[in-house]
Amino acid sequence: MAEANVAVKTLDKKELLRLYHEMALVRRLEEEAAHLYQQGKIGGFLHLYIGQEAVASGLLSVRRPEDHVLTAYRDHGVAIACGIEVKYVIAELLGKATGVSKGKGGSMHLADVRLNYWGGYAIVGSHLPLAAGIALADKYKGEPGVTICMFGDGATNIGYFHEALNLSMVWDLPVLWLCENNQYGMGTAVERASAVEEIRQKAEGYGMPNSRINGMDVLEVRGAAEEALGYVRENGTPYFLEVVTYRFQGHSIGDPERYRDKEEVDRWREADPIKIFRKHLIDTGAFSVDDLSIEEERVDQEVAEAVEFAEASPDPPPEALYENIYADS
């Protein structure tokens, strides 16, 4: 990890501030989404990313434009970190025609192929085989990208996970498998569902190089991701990165959270990735409290404008129901 830390130390102030802005933006977006849900403007499921912001932001701050990204349904933070403008995310949450998926996908199905963000998937584990295939296509065509596949701890118990990891080793596929271990799959704690508590041990079983890091520190995530992506790029073979994190909210809106006690959640809240980073930026003298407050106001403004944009956007027209079903219709 030593080399990566050097890289992190040389981060310029602009990038540090961008990272802070992005994490604060994701947090604000999620708070607003919860609010819009309560108002009945968002329907279906809503899986918030609050607490996990450092994972997507740290990881995707070092991806290259040619790297493909896939994740599961907890996808708002990933979408933002891939560069989707927040207004197109909120428009999708409201089911509007201006949403990234034209109002047809909703919260769980954000994607923007122009940004090489290949989508959020709602069937647990189902995108891992897709990631293997996308990596295969790069390799086949002689293209340089790495496929970054993010998934939860719960997803590592399903057959797809094992089939995809194995194939990626057998076929030497350039995939970064990134497990966001937030310690629960819905209400089931990792140790109640997984034979091994360190998820990275599963990669071990496939002879895949791996590591396990703290996901509440955005710079640590960034450093580890840089190293892991470097490995995949150089060798053209997979790497497994387990990032330990925590979701501060329920699994989806409306989760009664009977499976964990408040003290546990409070303990983790002390490791809030945004607070930690904020403190770091101030303690190292990179930024003043005022600098960061200005940034936070910008974030509030940005989300407020995005909500305005989304609310003013039209619903998809009735004929949209029949569109985009077949490629040749």
Partner: protein
Amino acid sequence: MAEITMREAISQALWEEMERDERVFIMGEEVGLWGGTYAVTRNFYDHFGAERVRDTPIAEGVIVGAANGAAMAGLRPVAELMTINFAFLAMDQIVNGSAKIRAMFGGQFTVPIVIRAVGGGGRQLGATHSQTPDVVFAHFPGMKVIAPGTPYDAKGLLKAAIRTDDPVLFIENATMYQSKGEVPDGDYVEPIGVSKVQREGSDVTIITYSKGLQLSLQAAEELSSEGIEAQIIDLRSLRPLDLGPAIESLKQTNRAVIVEEGWRSYGVGAEVAARLYEEAFDYIDSPLKRVAQVEVPLPYNRELEQMALPQIGDIVKAVREVL
């Protein structure tokens, strides 16, 4: 008799069967500590314990597969799939396991498994989480597929499902858990594979099941105010499929509409209509009509999703057309 919800009816059936027979146990995602995603197994974990109310990893293949094995070895597992959409990850175990193990080994094994699965659209859950693919499972000989439309039938049929030695897929509709109906106190069992008249009428026959029953009953009220009385036949079970009462009704009405929530092509309506043309052609005076879902993956947007799902108005319109 007491008026209870569909959720309570299903919950009571499970509870009473677990009290009655120690071999009955539940396994599935979030069935224990959480109390069931739709709160059907609330309090079961505390009462029956972790041995009999087993939280599983997210792994549908092994949920159904291990339940098949346990059933072969003498237990009576009730395997819960959080939604029927996830049954596709267990498809091999259902299709090549549950449905075939008995026949394939010349009757040496029985597979008394119940797979409970929740389906249905209308909740803005998007394309993969809103399906009503009931017919897919009803295609396979060896399976029994039940989909009740009232709390009374839900309770009686779930008990029958647990007691039969055959594999059963028991399909619930997520939008119906709160709907209420009269249910007798204590134990009763409804026969599997017997359809039922849910409303009397002599002008037109509506053949339906599950969510379609709810919609059809409401459509019938609307039609009644115009002087049209619909007889409603609830299939209750898609395999075996009993068309006896439907044919009896047709003898009087000579007109029928078939209502289902799933897609039209190769659907329940297609099967029922084909069999009615084969078995009751002489009683049909007007081409049969089907009311079903528009053939698109369901969109998230609320209005678009509602456009795609069959509505009460669609049933009323279809009835007017066959008259």
